[in-house]
């Protein structure tokens, strides 16, 4: 067995990482095709405020992150569907608003600490057994929701008006979609970090889209790219002592550049 797997914390990081690697692009795909890529970053910043609240009140930050981001996801969708504010502006509002909240709570708790830094950029050594169980359980929930409601999610993303005319409860589907995104983001920040989770949700998807295939094929490709990024990134992170989030996203970026080059060479 490889030396890397002799450490329990590394095994936990791989298990949680693969769970995230599957779920992140599944959610990301629906966000990207709806021109809603910024949603992942917004929810990540909301989760960060959730982490700050958790650290302040000394409860597990993963729980407060999930709670706050799910709550915010409902607020975002309600404001967006009211059409009083542009969808993009709603995201900007929540992104900076939650960052302000996080900073205030942190200054109340007398400054930044190392633990907080690990939430910003992702850390593999800090995944506890509880974190692992919560991550895997919620990843399974998100995964099953997407598989079971695939045809509805696809239709509501492809043409919301047509879907509604066909009798689909598009509003409810949209709410569920952002709620699943909120859960996926909150469970991912332990390993990938607040600042980089958006990248893991979006980059594997846009890489897969370069191959010009149908929706399902693109979705499967994006999951393959994402898992590859997580595994390769975690290895790099361990052997070269790098922040896991940075390493994972860098691999995802390399896959994207490769995909782009592959398409370019195919067209010539």
């Amino acid at each position: 067995m490889l030396e890397i797997f002799q450490y329990d914390f590394m095994v936990r990081a791989f298990e949680a990482g693969i769970a995230i690697g599957i779920v992140a692009p599944l959610i990301g795909m629906f966000l990207v095709v709806r021109r809603y890529s910024l949603m992942a970053d917004t929810l990540a910043h909301v989760s960060f405020a959730g982490v700050a609240i958790g650290l302040f009140f000394k409860v597990n930050p993963v729980f407060t992150a999930i709670g706050l981001s799910v709550l915010a996801s409902f607020g975002i969708e309600a404001l967006r569907s009211s059409r009083r504010i542009f969808g993009e502006s709603v995201l900007a509002l929540f992104l900076s608003g939650s960052l302000a909240l996080a900073v205030i709570i942190l200054s109340l708790s007398k400054g930044f600490n190392a633990n907080l830094f690990s939430y910003l950029f992702g850390s593999i050594s800090t995944v506890s057994t509880t974190d692992l169980w919560v991550t895997v359980a919620l990843a399974v929930v998100v995964f099953l929701d997407i598989v079971l409601l695939y045809k509805e999610l696809f239709f509501a993303s492809f043409d919301p008006e047509l879907a509604q005319a066909s009798g689909l409860p598009v509003k409810a589907i949209n709410f569920m979609m952002v709620m699943l995104a909120a859960i996926a983001v909150a469970i991912s920040i332990r390993i990938v970090g607040v600042l980089l989770i958006g990248a893991l949700m979006v980059i594997p998807v846009i890489s897969a889209m370069q191959y010009g295939r149908g929706f399902l094929t693109t979705l499967v490709l994006s999951v393959i790219f994402s898992i590859t990024s997580v595994i390769a990134g975690l290895f790099a992170s361990y052997y070269f002592n790098l922040a896991s989030g940075g390493a994972i996203v860098m691999v995802a970026l390399l896959i994207f550049l490769f995909s782009l080059a592959f398409i370019k060479s195919g067209k010539e």
């Binding site: 021109r35 409601l149 045809k151 696809f154 010009g212 295939r213 149908g214 929706f215």
Partner: protein, 252 residues
């Protein structure tokens, strides 16, 4: 008249609709019967698209009653009986990664429940719909890679896949080049004639409507005229619809 005896599919009585107190449709009443091929014409902002959205249940009338297949719109659940082909002028779905098959298949969704999977029969109907629309060779092509006319057929195939009784098309020839338009109208006529499909077809193109459809409805906030194209489409009606200085061009 023969058509008067046919089963009423869509009935509107005294329907009014306003956006923020601005009336768009006022006291509109008409009936669409089985087998009809109805063209709806009228100026932009005259309420054509609003009317379609009311029929589809996307907008709710401020006043009046809408009966669909004999049922009040609130009780109407068989959404698959109305196939809708929306106006496709946006570029949005050009980049959407979906194959023709994946899009046409969504037509089966109104016939399936949540969590239900597509069956072999569903796939069979989807394949047949693609064949009728003449796009079966594009089955695995991305919708965004097709021309305007081909994409229009994808959306018609999608509507046909739900095996509807009524097909509603909103400005179907926008973005379709002139050559393809002729074939397209022949295709619509054959759907009405050979597949016994009731068709409602919205257009700003008075010529096309007068030549292609069996009946015509002129809408400018309220009903301006309703009947046979040759009786109605004269200078007098057009003036009421579009204002003075409107002329029928190239009316054969």
């Amino acid at each position: 008249m023969r058509d008067k005896l046919a089963e009423p599919y869509i009935e509107l009585s005294n329907v009014s609709f306003s956006y923020d107190h601005t009336p768009v449709i006022e006291k509109l009443s008409f009936t669409v019967r089985k087998g009809e091929y109805l063209g709806i014409i009228g100026p932009n902002g005259g309420g054509k698209t609003t009317l379609i959205k009311i029929i589809l249940g996307l907008l709710h009338p401020t006043e009046g009653a809408v009966l669909l297949f004999g049922k009040d719109r609130h009780d109407f659940k068989e959404k698959h009986r109305i196939g809708y082909v929306p106006q496709r002028v946006t570029q949005a779905d050009r980049e959407f990664p979906a194959t023709v098959f994946e899009v046409v298949r969504t037509g089966r969704i109104p016939r399936l429940g949540f969590f239900q999977k597509f069956t072999a029969k569903d796939i069979e109907v989807v394949e047949r719909a693609m064949k009728i629309a003449g796009i079966e060779r594009y089955r695995d092509t991305l919708v965004g890679n097709l021309s305007g006319g081909e994409r229009q057929r994808v959306f018609i195939a999608r509507a046909l896949a739900s095996e509807p009784d009524v097909l509603i098309l909103d400005e179907p020839t926008v973005g379709v080049d002139i050559g393809a338009q002729k074939t397209f109208y022949e295709f619509l006529a054959s759907l009405n004639r050979d597949h016994n499909l009731t068709i409602i077809f919205i257009s700003h193109d008075v010529d096309a409507v007068s030549q292609e459809t069996k009946t015509v409805l002129c809408l400018n906030h309220t009903l301006v005229c309703h009947g046979l194209p040759r009786d109605l489409l004269n200078e007098h009606v057009l003036e009421r619809l579009y204002g003075k200085h409107s002329h029928l061009v190239n009316h054969k």
